[in-house]
């Protein structure tokens, strides 16, 4: 494929959201894993080889003579910086990596640049009983990946590095370009318009005013705050089985109850990132497939009924996640409260190789109030909030996190 690539509908939406956001780093992505049992050299070769294979990681933005945006293919040679931390105490080495990740996360990404669109960094950690230990980190922009794509990349990298000969296909993967083109076809545009109308109708009776208006807050200076709290294991298996719902319905219900209590409004709209991957084949494509979907929620008289209602709302939002963002923001308004459900920190094993994810670094809010929840039935989780100063006070944000945690515990209580 040598012709210009068409940006996908989610990529266009991210460009629009990025330009509307005061923080030029709002959509910068930084992600890392610690890999034990693989020499750093093999990891570096696997990382750069894997990245080179995925066409969607190399798109540079072009403007034609009418200033229409398309993408061309940028450099596929991926730089990998290396830092030796072997002389440090293990805890200090990890702290050094975390500080580096936070700095990278706060750095603006030059979306109109023509250099490599993704960069790797390797940190050599003190050796472990299972051999070399290395942090492999990557920096890119949300235009190029989403959370799921990052997991695909890490899995391919570890496979390539850990079990030679390489079992992963080495031919270039051009599938995202084909999907992107289909996502902006005339038929897709009509479907996106119809979906936006359906969502607008569903949200009609719900509260979509800016958050500070619910709370009747006085204007505050520009700035933002952030707060995180650790969660114990959150086991949704019982309630999921009893009500035939997924864990996300329980998380959404807990947040909705907390927001409704705090604001006094029983009908709210949460915005959630949702994947537009619909098929098994799409589940294997590296690229950005995420759209922000409004989720109209109304409080119900009981927790069980609320959870079931949230599952229905999630199903509806998922079916309409391709709704055209421009139409949605005109009819539903810009997102005020967003909830992202993230992967908890996990350890995986492939033969003699183990790798663990790093917790994502803190970042400023994408919306007036942004919540990120990662939970696990067996291990610790995390609930994070970031908010603009014009939306909430520190006390209100802490209160919201406490209420959400309480509701989460109540909804998942056994018996």
């Amino acid at each position: 494929m040598t012709q210009p690539r068409t940006l996908s509908a989610p990529q266009e939406a991210i460009l629009e959201a990025g330009i509307s956001h005061p923080d030029p780093a709002a959509y910068t992505m930084v992600n890392a894993i610690i890999v034990d049992g693989v020499p750093a050299k093999a990891l570096r070769q696997a990382a750069t080889g894997t990245a080179a294979r995925h066409d969607a990681l190399h798109w540079i933005l072009n403007l034609d003579d009418r200033y229409r945006i398309s993408a061309g293919l940028g450099p596929t040679l991926i730089p990998a910086e290396e830092t030796d931390l072997r002389s440090l105490d293990p805890a200090d080495a990890i702290a050094t990596v975390e500080a580096w990740m936070a700095t990278q996360r706060a750095a603006a990404y030059d979306i109109w640049g023509s250099g490599p669109r993704i960069r790797f960094a390797l940190f050599h950690l003190p050796e472990t009983p299972s051999g070399p230990s290395t942090v492999c980190a990557l920096m890119t922009h949300h235009l190029y990946t989403d959370e799921h794509a990052l997991q695909l990349l890490w899995t391919e990298i570890v496979r390539r590095a850990g079990i030679p000969p390489i079992s992963a296909p080495i031919s270039p993967d051009l599938r995202y370009g084909r999907w992107a083109e289909a996502s902006t076809s005339a038929a897709a545009a009509t479907s996106a318009r119809t979906a936006a109308e359906a969502v607008a109708q569903r949200c009609q009776t719900h509260e979509t005013r800016p958050y500070p208006e619910y709370l009747e807050r006085l204007p505050a200076p520009n700035g933002y705050g952030q707060q995180a709290r650790a969660l114990g294991p959150v086991d949704t298996a019982d309630v999921s089985a009893r009500l035939s719902v997924g864990p996300a319905a329980v998380y959404v219900a807990a947040v909705a109850q907390a927001v409704a209590e705090q604001t006094g409004h029983g009908r709210i709209v949460l915005h959630m990132p949702m994947s537009l991957r619909r098929t098994a084949a799409e589940a294997g494509i590296v690229g950005c497939f995420v759209a922000s979907a409004p989720l109209p929620i109304r409080l119900e008289p009981t927790g069980d009924r609320l959870v079931q209602h949230c599952q229905q709302a999630l199903n509806f939002a998922s079916r309409h996640a391709h709704a055209r963002p421009g139409l949605l923001s005109r009819s539903v308004g810009r997102p005020q409260i967003s909830l992202a459900i993230e992967q908890p920190v996990t350890t995986r094993r492939l033969g003699p190789v183990t790798w663990s994810s790093f917790a994502a670094p803190n970042a400023g809010p994408k919306h007036p109030l942004s919540l990120q929840l990662s939970a696990s039935a067996t291990g610790p989780g995390r609930l994070r909030a970031s908010w603009t100063s014009a939306s909430l006070t520190q006390e209100q944000a802490v209160d919201l996190l406490e209420r959400t945690t309480d509701h989460l515990n109540r909804l998942t209580a056994k018996g």
Partner: protein, 88 residues
């Protein structure tokens, strides 16, 4: 055929004239330099295209807020000159 529609002519050297031409191309219609661009067909994706065009030509990152605060070609042109001078 005017400058806006004649691709044989290169981009104008004068920044204001270039901006006028770029806005006309993006909104697909002639643009009044002193009228609000958002009332002349500038959409949210148009803001992205215009911001990209400005970044490519001037190396300046202008966000949607800048464009909403300086919604005419005349005002935007002055903002670009000011940012270039201050190096921000």
């Amino acid at each position: 055929m005017d400058r806006t529609t004649d691709p044989r002519q290169g981009p104008p050297a004068d920044d204001r004239a270039w901006l006028l031409e770029a806005c006309a191309a993006i909104t697909d219609q002639p643009v009044d330099a002193d009228a609000n661009l958002f009332e002349q067909g500038l959409t949210s994706l148009g803001v992205v295209r215009l911001s990209g065009a400005i970044q490519r030509r001037h190396g300046l990152r202008l966000g949607a807020v800048d464009l909403h605060d300086h919604p005419t070609v005349t005002q935007l042109s002055a903002l670009i000159a000011e940012r270039k001078e201050s190096g921000v």
